[in-house]
Symmetry: C4
Subunit: 273 residues, 4 copies
Amino acid sequence: MDAEGKQGCREWLRRVIFQSDTRAGQAYDIVLLVVIALSVLTVMLESVEEISGPRRGLFTVLEWVFTGLFTLEYAVRLAVVDRPGRYAGSFLGVIDLVSILPAWLELVLPGSRFLTVIRVLRLMRMFRVLRMAQYLGEASLLLNALGASRRKILIFFTAVLTLVLVEGTAVYVLENGENPGFRNIPQAIYWAIVTITTVGYGDVAPVTVGGKIMASFIMLTGFAIIAVPTGIVTSEIGRELQRTRVRRRCGQCGWEDHDVRARYCHQCGIGLE
Amino acid sequence: MDAEGKQGCREWLRRVIFQSDTRAGQAYDIVLLVVIALSVLTVMLESVEEISGPRRGLFTVLEWVFTGLFTLEYAVRLAVVDRPGRYAGSFLGVIDLVSILPAWLELVLPGSRFLTVIRVLRLMRMFRVLRMAQYLGEASLLLNALGASRRKILIFFTAVLTLVLVEGTAVYVLENGENPGFRNIPQAIYWAIVTITTVGYGDVAPVTVGGKIMASFIMLTGFAIIAVPTGIVTSEIGRELQRTRVRRRCGQCGWEDHDVRARYCHQCGIGLE
Amino acid sequence: MDAEGKQGCREWLRRVIFQSDTRAGQAYDIVLLVVIALSVLTVMLESVEEISGPRRGLFTVLEWVFTGLFTLEYAVRLAVVDRPGRYAGSFLGVIDLVSILPAWLELVLPGSRFLTVIRVLRLMRMFRVLRMAQYLGEASLLLNALGASRRKILIFFTAVLTLVLVEGTAVYVLENGENPGFRNIPQAIYWAIVTITTVGYGDVAPVTVGGKIMASFIMLTGFAIIAVPTGIVTSEIGRELQRTRVRRRCGQCGWEDHDVRARYCHQCGIGLE
Amino acid sequence: MDAEGKQGCREWLRRVIFQSDTRAGQAYDIVLLVVIALSVLTVMLESVEEISGPRRGLFTVLEWVFTGLFTLEYAVRLAVVDRPGRYAGSFLGVIDLVSILPAWLELVLPGSRFLTVIRVLRLMRMFRVLRMAQYLGEASLLLNALGASRRKILIFFTAVLTLVLVEGTAVYVLENGENPGFRNIPQAIYWAIVTITTVGYGDVAPVTVGGKIMASFIMLTGFAIIAVPTGIVTSEIGRELQRTRVRRRCGQCGWEDHDVRARYCHQCGIGLE
């Protein structure tokens, strides 16, 4: 094989692996998704003693087959892409790397192999196979809305953590000694988080009258508090939706607020281009 | 009875059963709703040993009476409707069919008779009896809003499932061996779903310090996450409400969806009165 | 006392009891609120064995003193108001009546006296004492928003009840026999309601693999479902807020969408009256 | 040191402690935040018997070191500020004071030292170190939104408390005698709060059929109710966002809050450029 053929082969591999505009590229993406899903399923089943116990050997083999495949694929990706450094540092590149690391780490640190479940993140390539553009548009709208609210959400979480710390300690002072679930402040904070998020396992619950009154107060507070992040995100999503709505400007009167489907300006009746 | 009389009788039956614009049609709808409600109640009471135990025979008879009635009704519907295939394939037609299937299936597969509770879906005919138009309008607004958000909600659920898988496995690695509730990854994922949706049964709860810290993190994440679907649905309902609010109809082209402040139809450029 | 004096006295009593625009009327309202609060507190404390046990007599006396007072007050209200029938049928009139009924019912039906706690509803008169107008405005905004959403909420609850019935039965079929918490369908429906509302007591929880998978599905559904009423109410409150926002119309150009504080039309610069 | 030098030194201290526009001021703020975080961590670890048990002496020393530092700092703040009374009465001044009180109170009232965790509130100074302006803008938007909804939220909480009282008593009447968790009305109210906020510990749960039906009703009510505060806060945040979105400043009168489409200042009628 001469240099040109090698270059052509590399180019072809690059298109198949990185893009999905060819038949082979689409087939590759789908096969990859299936293999990823199978590897995640394998990790999950391996953790079920009843299933993996009698066939430990099979699971070990499967694990190494998947790890081998993904390691090979990562190497090929690095080899065929034009700027390997940029791919390795990209979001998907980092995910591809962390998907194979835990299995190799297992050689040194037993028990870490279950973390290979992180391979599930590679399933995000799925959106490439689906009619990508539309989904990416919707996803970026959601991410934009979350991004626009990040400072508000940070403030909100600071407030929640402060509240949880103060309220947890208050209930600790009330329950300490009477309730094994409130043996120390970190445990009381754990309880306060379980309560304020309305999860409420019930593994820890106040038993004294004072503790119950305090807890009632915390629950009602949490009730109002859950409204805040919802309010923030809803408002930002509404704003994003509005921003993406078309703002067609009339050439004559300059009115900008037209329906997407409008053909005539509704203020001066002139045709919109 | 001659052919014409038969045809007339069929036509009369069709109006009574399928429409509610006649006295008889309305009476039929109401009787049907009562019978459906009674049949669902029968299934529910049959499952209560204290009630059905001493009168097993009665319940068997009732069950077959209802099944007979509904099977007969389904047959008549098929017979009198103009295009039986279209009815059988329609939403309500499929519900009518699945309402009688479990009872017949019981002859082959014991235990499946309780699934006849699915008959409750037939109660949706209720909206026909109520001032239908208005309720259907409201229902379609809600369905439109959900439909418009379906892609965003799909993206959201993919993100939640990925999160639940990764977080569940992380807590599994931390709790495994110390906590019988985290014996394998599927159980840990079940726990993560119970936690992130803020249901929090408490049948499984972390016991190690690492597990509790990780759980606190998951709960606070869930707190922010619950805001996202609410934000999506709220924004879409708001949009739907706005879209339906202004219905100024153009006298020339009939286009109805104009801005409140519009002075000219934006489809044909004719002035709105 | 002559007829005119009697009439004047009746008029004076009517103003004191029914209105709060006089000194005496305000004092009366405040005393009434305190007495109502005390009577509710009495019922609550009476139920605490540790407190009421040693002083049963005192509580019986208190109970009859409060009942006597409220019965007398109800009689006076009926006597002095211009149209007794209209008061008796009004919202507050009905609450006044049901506040005294349980105590009298106790004579016939022991145990019903605790229902006198319903007197707490009379505390709603509180809003009369506070700067009434503003609070009533806000309250009516909330009630309007809920009223405008009532049909959507009815549809939503029908959908939730259907879902709960079908999902409860499905988990019953899976768990029945293995789990004492799913002994019959009504219990399974109770569990489904506890789950879909994200309350999650944990007194009943699925134990089989199939039940847990089904439960996970129900929880994730509930996650999306909780978004719907929030979306409805939020949109309606937003609409109400917008409706109550001032729409000052410019006399010259007719533009209507001005800020509350605007003094000049922002389209033609003419002063707004 | 002469009087002027003393004055200069006081001025320099004031700038370092109260402002963060100098190098030293910023360094001071950061050191202060670290010390506060360490002192909160110390209180939390002190409550963990396993950690503080063997080194009780160390924790006592640390506690007094921190208390000494904070007391000294409070005294210096009072000394260098221009109007000590105003600082002492300000929000941050009160927090600074309550951060040192519990430690001194400990001398009189053993056990109260854990309340020193309230020092965590001092971490709010953090927003001063971060790019303050932006965060304060966002925080004030959230506070404005909450402030604008305060009357609606008050009405809402009055309604919730009434509901919780009536529903708790109703379940008490049904469960009393059969369920140790419903021994008296205050306990039943605690359960109703746990339920309506969807926390659902499960430490108390209805066991009778009537109680379960009533509880189902309460849960479904709670489902609708959680929508109300969210709706209120979301609408107000949306309104705040809209208000802050358009900030076109009038060149003449300086009014900043104009509609996007405004062409004339609505305060002085002058054309906006």
